[in-house]
Amino acid sequence: MKILVVAILLLNLNLVNAQTDVEELVKKVKAKYEKVIDYEASGKMKTNVLFIKVPIANVKIYYKKPNKLKIKNENGVSFIPKGTINVNMNNVLSMKNYQVIEAGSEVIDGTPVTIVKILPEEDTEDVVLSKLYIDTKNLLVLKSITTTKENGTYEISMQYGEHSDYGLPKKVKFSFNAKGYKLPKGITFDYDNGAAKSDFDKAENKKGKVEITYSAYSINKGVKDEVFK
């Protein structure tokens, strides 16, 4: 009986330690990301959604603390998924009150990562749950799966380059749930060119993907509020 009690106490102690570890880890990651007050970057955006056929777009990305993010195609038409606000980890990490839960470990592209779940404590937050895959050595989030109230679940993968000190990625892959698209034939008067129709309802993969490759970051040099309108 004594042995059992001791075992339970040790187990609890371990859990408490692990909990403290992940909280510390998230704090360190947060501190790293908080070095960025604002940034402006150029990028190339590839959209891969079954029913959207668009060229690779040149976009500008603007960010300003605490949670303003705007992706703009200044010379053309691009469809930006609404949840792209979450491509910036600051938006997840900037939540004031949240719980951190350890959720195991994994290896992403050869890098060992610790998985943590972040649960906001306040009902007002749009984020319901965020699962972060953190490179503990470099204190970088390599992947996140965020479920929001308004815009569903988003999976984001990040690769880092020269701005990893600020936690700013060189490439972001953004995956989201897409909805079907259909217009009445009588409106479109389509020409049947014999090409296979991309009927969303019959498609197996209904996930949409957006990939942004960043270049020319300008960090903490000030971004005007007007660009977010």
């Binding site: 590839k46 959209t47 891969n48 959604v49 079954l50 029913f51 959207i52 056929k53 668009v54 060229p55 690779i56 195609n73 010379n75 053309g76 038409v77 691009s78 469809f79 930006i80 998924p81 609404k82 815009n151 989201f176 749930n177 897409a178 909805k179 079907g180 698209y181 259909k182 217009l183 009445p184 034939k185 009588g186 479109t188 008067f189 389509d190 020409y191 049947d192 060119n193 014999g194 090409a195 129709k197 991309s198 009927d199 969303f200 949409g208 993907k209």
Partner: protein, 299 residues
Amino acid sequence: MFFTLLKIELFKISKRPRTYIAFGALAVLIFLIQLALKANGDEFVGLLLSAQEDTFEIPRKEMLNGYFVCFFVLNMLLIHIPLLVALIAGDQISGEAGMGTLRFMIGKPISRTQIILAKYCASVIYIVLMLFWMAILGLFLSNILFGTSDLFIGRQFDVIVLEASDIMWRYLLAFLFATLGLSVIAALAIMFSVFSDNSIGPIVTATTVVIVCTIIQQLTVPLFENTITPWLFTTHMLGWKGFFYPETYQMVGENSGAVIKGSIENISAIYKSSAILFGYILLFLGIAIWQFRKKDILT
């Protein structure tokens, strides 16, 4: 001799008041479309993508530009313009037969085949001028009024965005293809015109045929879709749109899903449509020449 005949035919067309009805009607229609889109274009564009507004930010302002307006104009008007073409071409033989000038014409040392061909060529030149007028108002004026940006096209199952620098050549080819498509209507109207001695009959008949074909084409009934629809000239007249359907990279790979600049999704379909439209022109003109050569002009 043929060119003299053609000049005369063009002169006759230019002297008919109804010739200018088409130009006036086009100007009014395009102006009304531009006015409507200027006033409520945002809502219209939003309507095309209303189901996606929860998922994507819809760049309505950028989508509503001159190229989009021109595509909208062509999409609406190229279905109705055949009526304007029939108005001129349907009168070519029957009008002269009705007025009694046909017998004077045939009395000259020119073949009846040449007369038909000259009248047909004059109608085609009229179509070219009409489409040029459409291009000025629908494309160039719209670009001035709405500005230019990427072109958004909504199809039944997908949307396409073409880069602004990848559009003008497509419009050029689209207008050329539209000329071919409308030339079928001219041949059809001339064919009916040969069988009649008054102008109204051939114009109404040609128009009716176009309307019936368009309705059949729009009926999504397998009975028609698998049999008649693929062979209707109205089906292939939509071939101008094929120039705006680009090829995309495979859904898997480096640039997966992205539009390939300067590409056409299925050029062979456009060749096939062109061949079918040429076939119709030859058929209608062949019947017209055959009938006209044995037409009794003395009664």
